[in-house]
């Protein structure tokens, strides 16, 4: 039983990591558009008001050695509680308080079995597809500039 629970927690963790990542990387305009289409009107309270701050990005010497501080990135975070008691949070790059709050609400709803599938299928999945398309397009344009250099024989 304990093992089954652990397994379930792991799965939830992996899923939650994945949707929090997709929400953080998607533009607010797209999240908002998909959200509006769902026409849901959940009620929530703020546990943590949206707050703008920074995180320090670290690199490693030579790419794989000692960590060093590269510089900071702006980040906005928020935490909410739905009427059903489920809490959600968000950490989103940039300074959009609106996105941070909406993402926290979505995180809470995705943890609520009654709303999970609806949000996941109609919001997370299309956002994920858009992100993957963009990434593939960027990569294919880069791949089109792949080069083969030839060395020339010099002198005699």
């Amino acid at each position: 039983m304990k093992r089954a629970n652990e397994q379930k927690n792991r799965t939830t963790e992996i899923n939650r990591r994945s949707w929090l990542s997709i929400l953080a990387k998607s533009p607010l305009s797209e999240i908002q558009a998909l959200w509006n289409k769902l026409e849901l009107n959940p009620e929530w309270e703020l546990i943590r008001k949206p707050e703008i701050g920074m995180v320090m990005v670290q690199g490693r010497t030579g790419g794989n050695g000692k960590a060093f501080n590269l510089g900071e990135v702006t980040i906005t975070r928020a935490a909410v509680r739905l009427k059903n008691g489920n809490a959600g949070l968000s950490y989103v790059q940039g300074r959009s308080k609106k996105q941070a709050e909406l993402c926290a609400v979505l995180d809470a709803m995705l943890q609520t079995p009654a709303s999970h599938l609806q949000i996941f299928d109609n919001l997370i999945t299309p956002l994920k597809e858009t992100l993957e398309e963009l990434r593939a397009q960027r990569s294919k344009k880069a791949a089109n500039t792949k080069v083969n250099f030839f060395t020339m024989a010099r002198g005699h």
Binding site: G53, V57, G62, K66, F68
Partner: protein, 371 residues
Amino acid sequence: MYVAVKGGESAIKNSQELLAEERRGDKNVKELTLDQIQNQLSLSLDRVMAEASLYDRELAALAVKQSCGDLVEAIFLLRAYRTTLPRFGTTVPIETANMSIRRRISATFKDLPGGQVLGPSFDYTHRLLDFSLAANGDVPEAMEADGTVDRNMPRVTDLLNNEGLIEEETAEDDNEPFDLTRESLKFPADRPARLQNLARGDEGFLLALAYSTQRGWGRNHPFAGEIRMGELSIEFIPDELGFSIEIGEITITECQMINQFKGSSDIPAQFTRGYGLSFGHNERKTMAMGIVDRALRTRELDEHVQAPAQDEEFVLSHSCNVEASGFVQHLKLPHYVDFQSELVTVRALRGEANIDKTNIVKPISDIAATE
């Protein structure tokens, strides 16, 4: 010494209004939007974000607009803004081997796993002015290859490392690295402290230092082992979750400089490393950083400090353009009291010497006029 002055309020206000008008320019010309700056002056933003050491494209665009395109001023503005924000924590160190590559080249190996990807680059342009841009010509869409770039793009230095041909990178450790935004730099500075300083250091300063090593002032024989640019997710572990989540994506440029050998009776000859890393697409900056990083490693590699680029106190104390431009430009502010005291001193000295006025060396212009 600078002694504060009072007054001038209305002149200062008027001067700022005049600046605002100059910034706007001719009102018959459309005003620049932040969107336009973000999209069409992206390399300006990349430099501003790197040297302000704050990644935020929108704010960097605002800083560029506000500073009328003066990038050092824009860096100052963004650096000042970052002091107003709280820090939520530190990311998991980025793993550049996982980068979504948009550009990746090596000047040391022509065939390497994953291949060479030129990406968007000025390198092979002819540097001829393109007048079609002046005519607002439409740009054709860039073509896509059938497939994406190879997922497996090992770092060139890791390949050399597998053969033992390059020195091992310093081992990972759990110590929090030095942070110069929290404590002041002390000498000798360790490599993480030096790299943080160089990463936010002035591109022009680092470029000149790197160039000086190539011309013989602390030569270290660099090769651009690899330059890569692309996007990386940043991961953060919020206390309330206890596991890491991706919180966004940033553009990063990395340069691995491979330098001439170092060996001893115990260790056979190996290449040595210099490392450059920067926010945004900043190739010249990361290359210069890699060369200067290598030059500064004199203690680790048992070298004598013979040139400016190898002197860490000289380099690290003068790399920040916010500090440098502040200290140089403060000379413009009123120094009247200060200068008065200098005047009194110099007059007194001359009085004591009882100088015969006919013996004063004449300015060159006067000499020319009499001759």
